[in-house]
Amino acid sequence: MNNRLLSCIMRIGRLMVESGAEIYRVEESLERVLRAYGAKEVNVFAITSNIMVSVECEEYVIKNYSCRIRSIGNHVERVDRLNALVRRLTAEAPAVEIVEAEVEKILSMKEYSDNEIAFAHGLIASSFSVFFGARGVEEIVMALLMGVGVGVCTRQLEKLRANRLLDRFLCAFLVTLLTFVFWRMKLVSSVDEIIIGILMTLVPGCGFTNALRDLFTGDSISGALRLIEAVLVAFAIAAGYVLAGVLTGGALL
């Protein structure tokens, strides 16, 4: 196994973690692929922030590779494609050029535009505000508009590589502040449903579920890391909400 192939396979592993794949899936995939390419002994250890691989390619020829992972998102379609690619590599072990081309193809597939992502935030916010009991047209429209605003805001902050906690704090703060102001101006008659609906786009609900899933499947370190991250995000949102609430006297009335 040459270095080029190893580096390409590691890239697949890295992309899987970054796209939000389960840790056990990443470890299993890397091990299978490396064995398919003739490795005698494979040791993979992955957590949400690092992957380490040690391969015995031939008798006593040992290679190590580790890569640091800084940001994790959710990219279901990419996990799907990578998973399919891993299956193919395990079955056929194609030449390294083909693997590289396949990885490039996965990276260059069609993405949602910024506008579509902003719309998705609005859709979540308005649907969940109705879900949690909003019935007035003003409330629903308000949730939709602010949801879109949150979508645009997080997207821009993401591009600026802003701290995720700061991002969540700011969004929760602004949303709560605006909602209370509108409520004071009597533009909307209730605040709870609007705020919950918009907060649903920020809440790390899936983060919690993923964390517990990793914990239960035995990847304790990854689970703990994800759990801490989710708890911090939840605190950031709560802090933004509380600060805005105190400033406007919202909940104190």
Binding site: E116, L123, F131
Partner: protein, 152 residues
């Protein structure tokens, strides 16, 4: 809760899940299937409420059923089951729990805060327990089946 309210919630569960599916960069047929799963999850939760009082118990049952749905779809579409499972359970994610916890903390009602925070946590735990249980059984079954096939 009246029937029309329940119906409205179920429909909104569909659109809410679809929004999350888009955030998770899911597309086309898979996005639709995940959204239908989200709708089914909330409908099940409401239906079970007619018989079972305890929310954590309902969360667990719904989570198991939806995870089975996800495993089956994953086999059919040849994708990881997590894709559908996590998304379809989005309507059950206790976002309201977090909000009310923060609200009680803000108003200084620590007893209500602790109660709400704990119940939010236990609901999330039930949700993931169901997911993991089904995933473990599915993994065991598929490896048992494939080793048997290899022997034959």
């Amino acid at each position: 809760m009246s029937f029309s309210d329940a119906l409205l919630q179920v429909i909104m569960a569909f659109f809410g899940t679809m929004g999350f599916g888009m955030l998770f960069r899911s597309r086309g047929k898979k996005l639709l299937l995940a959204s239908l799963g989200g709708m089914a999850a909330w409908a099940l939760f409401l239906l079970l409420g007619l018989r079972i009082e305890s929310e954590p118990a309902r969360y667990f049952i719904v989570s198991v059923i939806i995870s089975i749905y996800a495993e089956v779809l994953a086999r059919v579409c040849k994708t990881p089951a997590g894709t559908f499972g996590i998304l379809s359970l989005v309507p059950l994610v206790p976002g309201g729990g977090l909000y009310y916890s923060a609200d009680y903390a803000l108003s200084g009602d620590m007893q209500a805060f602790a109660e709400k925070a704990l119940s939010t946590l236990s609901l999330t735990a039930m949700l993931s327990l169901g997911i993991v249980l089904v995933a473990a059984v599915a993994k065991f079954l598929s490896s048992a089946l494939s080793s048997r096939r290899n022997q034959a």
